[in-house]
């Protein structure tokens, strides 16, 4: 499927950059995926195009930065918690720009599963040293040999951070689902009744 021509739902309300796509120079920054340009925008007047465009650029950047924080956490400022919060903020930004487009729907896993998996990974990392006869929650350095370029040093506490990261992202997504789109849904229901 060609993402350039596919419209999210074929609705004419979306600004479709369809006609001039034969010039590659002008089409290089066109949307490759339909997100944040939802076809059915209930109230077009409420859209903030500027925020949407900025978000399109910022969202992946913030996610990459959160991964950096996750990996840097053992030696410098960062760690699973702040990385998770940064990633969560990316989703919040996307929610603010995209409005009622549910950010939960954009992640193929349901937020509670993400939280559960994160917590399970974290507890598993805490308990794993017991098998080796070490105290609970202790960490060690693993040297992973990389072909051609020495070895990569991995501190096992990074797995705990990964767990926390997933947990926090799940929490933020769940919050957006419950307090963001949930309340919007309630308001729409109330508005339709009135």
């Amino acid at each position: 499927m060609n993402p350039l021509t596919s419209s999210p739902d074929g609705d004419a309300a979306a600004p479709q950059p369809g006609e001039r796509e034969q010039t590659p120079f002008e089409s290089w920054d066109r949307p490759r995926s339909p997100w944040l340009l939802p076809g059915r925008c209930r109230t077009p007047r409420r859209r903030t195009l500027l925020l949407e465009m900025v978000t399109r650029g910022l969202f992946p950047t913030i996610l990459v930065f959160s991964i950096y924080l996750l990996c840097a956490g053992h030696y410098g400022p960062g760690g699973g918690f702040s990385a998770g919060l940064v990633a969560g903020l990316a989703f919040v930004l996307r929610y603010l720009a995209g409005g009622s487009t549910d950010p939960g729907a954009l992640v193929p896993i349901r937020p509670p599963v993400l939280m559960g998996l994160g917590l399970a990974i974290a507890v598993g990392t805490a308990l794993a040293p017991v098998v080796a006869g070490e105290p609970v929650l202790s960490s060690t350095k693993l040297a992973v040999p990389l072909p051609g370029s020495g070895e990569l040093e991995v501190v096992t506490s990074v797995f705990l951070d990964v767990g926390v990261y997933l947990l926090i992202v799940g929490v933020v997504l769940d919050l957006l689902r419950a307090l963001g789109s949930g309340i919007e849904r309630d308001m729409r229901a109330a508005g339709e009744e009135a």
Binding site: G76, P77, L175, A178, L179, I183, D186
Partner: protein, 141 residues
């Protein structure tokens, strides 16, 4: 014994936050109560941050000589406490929204026992209230 030292301005700020927080907690509107909890939480977290002593260098090994570091423990405690207060504020927010949806307003209602005692103050107060169809007595509804 370590003599606790604290910046006077900061002490006044903490005191002010506590005063405002407790004042708001005593209001009837749930929204004000919630803001009171938030303000009180800020006061507490600021206090927790302050007990580590005067400001100093960030306690990251290798970034500065160790004797110029600030005490990292209160910072860790404050971070944890901030997260907990934040989470509970969110929960309280959701709960007051729920209360708003259910009741149509966010006022804290009268206490059941208070109302019952007030009603019993009269000379002709009945000994037992009639219970309604749901098994709760009249004033519990």
């Amino acid at each position: 014994m370590i003599t606790p030292t604290i910046n006077l301005l900061m002490a006044l700020t903490v005191g002010g936050l506590y005063a405002v927080g407790f004042y708001l907690l005593l209001q009837r509107s749930l929204m004000r109560v919630l803001i009171g909890v938030v303000v009180l939480g800020h006061g507490t977290n600021l206090l927790l941050q302050l007990v580590g002593g005067p400001p100093a260098r960030a306690p990251i090994v290798g970034s500065a000589p160790a004797d110029t570091f600030a005490d990292p423990l209160p910072q860790a405690l404050a971070l944890t406490a901030v997260v907990i207060t934040f989470a509970l504020t969110t929960f309280l927010l959701a709960l007051s929204y729920r209360s708003f949806v259910l009741l149509g307003h966010d006022e804290v209602q009268d206490d059941l026992e208070d109302r019952r005692i007030a009603r019993r103050g009269g000379p002709a107060a009945p000994l037992h209230q009639d219970a309604g169809p749901d098994g709760r007595t009249e004033d519990e509804r």
